[in-house]
Symmetry: C2
Subunit: 348 residues, 2 copies
């Protein structure tokens, strides 16, 4: 395999913004979209990075996502909550606006919760939770997703991996950023093992009968293992009940995958911002988070490895790649350049 080419952040960002605009998106929305892709690239969450650009643009071309959505907050008399109708627009744009609103509410009321209906795949959940942590708040984000996990006691995938992200600011340490799905691993890891014809650990996937399997092909026909069995299955269901069901967008099992071009994906998200200063002096809090990090890092390590906090590796990479650039695989560049050609854009 050829070595990846390193691009600086601006070059990649301008490329993505340009492509979204050429495909019909407003520049405001294109900037948000691209920013979330850059976030994923910098944090090395490649599955949600620029590799997704062609898929997002295909969704625009096919009209399964709304290029000119009118996203509106739905009025209600309850001051600390709101609902955003994403009008089948991009999940990233909806997510950005919804978390902003949750934070605005939290500034006044201490906590703000915004649910988003009629949305689409929103990329990396921690993009939104970290909007809050950057502003000295605790951010909580959940989204539903297409079927992948069998509800406990069944053998049919109906529940999504339904990611949850929580971001907490620290004073001098890096923020603590949990960003996790409810399955032990992502389906992509099983797909990779299948491509390489490798066996998978027994806690990754279940076959069609719901039994653990080392065969990645059997697992791909079956379902993903939820963390803690009945616990992960329960957590995933709770996310559904707080997103798709609370916004009356979709019941469990009704969300379409991002690659399914047969119609809107009917995704929903929920964003909660907790204003730390409404409980405790923010500086005291952040210093205490630093102390917790120090305490954990001074524990005896398992093996000789460095002890990392949730989100720390990603944050380090982010700091590094922001200045040193982002490596992109040749195959990805070729695909992006094909897209550029199609839209008469400047190639990478």
């Amino acid at each position: 395999m050829d070595r990846p080419i390193v691009y600086d952040l601006n070059t990649l960002n301008e490329f993505c913004i340009g492509m979204f605009i050429k495909a019909g998106m407003s520049s405001e929305e294109a900037e948000i979209m691209s920013d979330t892709l850059m976030f994923a690239e910098m944090r090395n969450v490649k599955s949600h990075g620029i590799i997704r650009l062609p898929t997002y643009i295909e969704r625009m071309e096919k009209g399964v996502v709304n290029n000119k959505p009118e996203m509106k907050l739905i009025n209600n008399p309850f001051a600390a909550v709101s609902m955003l109708n994403a009008d089948n627009g991009m999940g990233q744009v909806a997510g950005y606006k919804a978390m902003k609103e949750a934070m605005n509410i939290a500034k006044v009321y201490g906590i703000g919760m915004v649910a988003v209906k009629n949305s689409n795949h929103f990329g990396v959940a921690s993009y939104y939770s970290m909007m809050a942590s950057k502003d000295d708040m605790i951010g909580l984000v959940m989204t539903n997703a297409s079927p992948a996990i069998a509800p406990f006691g069944t053998k049919a995938p109906l529940l999504g991996t339904n990611p949850l992200s929580v971001a907490v600011p620290a004073k001098y340490k890096k923020p603590i950023v949990l960003d996790m799905s409810m399955s032990t691993v992502a389906r992509g890891k099983i797909r990779m093992a299948a491509l390489q014809n490798k066996e998978i650990p027994l806690d990754w996937g279940l076959d069609e009968e719901g039994n653990p399997t080392a065969d990645p092909y059997e697992a791909l026909k079956g379902s993903l293992v939820p963390i803690g069995g009945v616990k992960g299955s329960g957590l995933s269901l709770i996310v559904d009940l707080l997103t798709g069901v609370l916004t009356d967008t979709s019941l469990t099992g009704e969300v379409k995958n991002i690659t399914d071009m047969s119609g809107p994906s009917k995704t929903s998200h929920v964003f909660i911002a907790v204003n730390i200063s409404s409980f405790i002096d923010t500086d005291v809090y952040k210093k205490n988070v630093d102390s917790v990090v120090n305490n954990i890092k001074s524990l005896p390590p398992k093996g000789n490895n460095e002890i990392f906090m949730a989100g720390e590796i990603e944050q380090r990479l982010m700091d590094e790649r922001r200045s040193l650039g982002i490596p992109v695989e040749i195959e990805v560049i070729e695909e992006l350049n094909k897209l550029a050609e199609k839209y008469d854009g400047t190639k990478l």
Copy 2:
């Protein structure tokens, strides 16, 4: 072993209320305490049931818990959040008051969040989340707990099992009630295996070196396995950051176990109520939850087992035991009667 004796709910309840009062608690607080114990007994969460009564009373006798706490809401200008200082009183009393306040807030603002500082063990988390679901709200509850789980990459237990409960109302179906800790199993299960000299599954406990072990004695010296490894470890930390750290009560690792009589346990909890009607018609929501339950129950089961939703088995038992009574083991009765003798109370 002798067969357990079945007591009716009132008899047990009156017994517990009486004991708490004799030990120095106000009748209002004694009623809440006993109600949470009855809740645990009815749902067959024996580890949090009347078997705990002697421990709670010992804590009162030794003065490590405050018998006459002045629990006060701390004023702040943020209308949707509040902080309750439990004044080192019983966690159950604090939890009851805090969830009530969260619900009152949610009725007006759509969501309410109440954090509790300087508290103690609060029993079963779902007692509080279900206060919300009974009132057509979604209840979320978290509490920190004494060290049991090693932070990812370390081999020293510092994190608590840090339970999370979420309760969601349904229309004709039973409410969906998730009530889970962040470890694959409770330490009690490993203790039981040790007593019976049985091996334990490798995903239950880690030895002092942080390696999986089948030996329950090694696991008891080591730590509990977090669900999903790094994910459960991260979830547990987040609960700490939303409870002990947010209320400035205790940092990660500083909460004392309920059986540790050396001082206040410095426990914290957080209670969130989400007012469904601030997002969607409550009846529509609850009917949709019913549909989700029906959809899951009509999936192909793994094996020939009935498919249960989170909290369903417990709710069935609760309905049953409310009318048919609660079985109590002879050994437990004997212990409770010893306590009754000590306090000149009527025996069971």
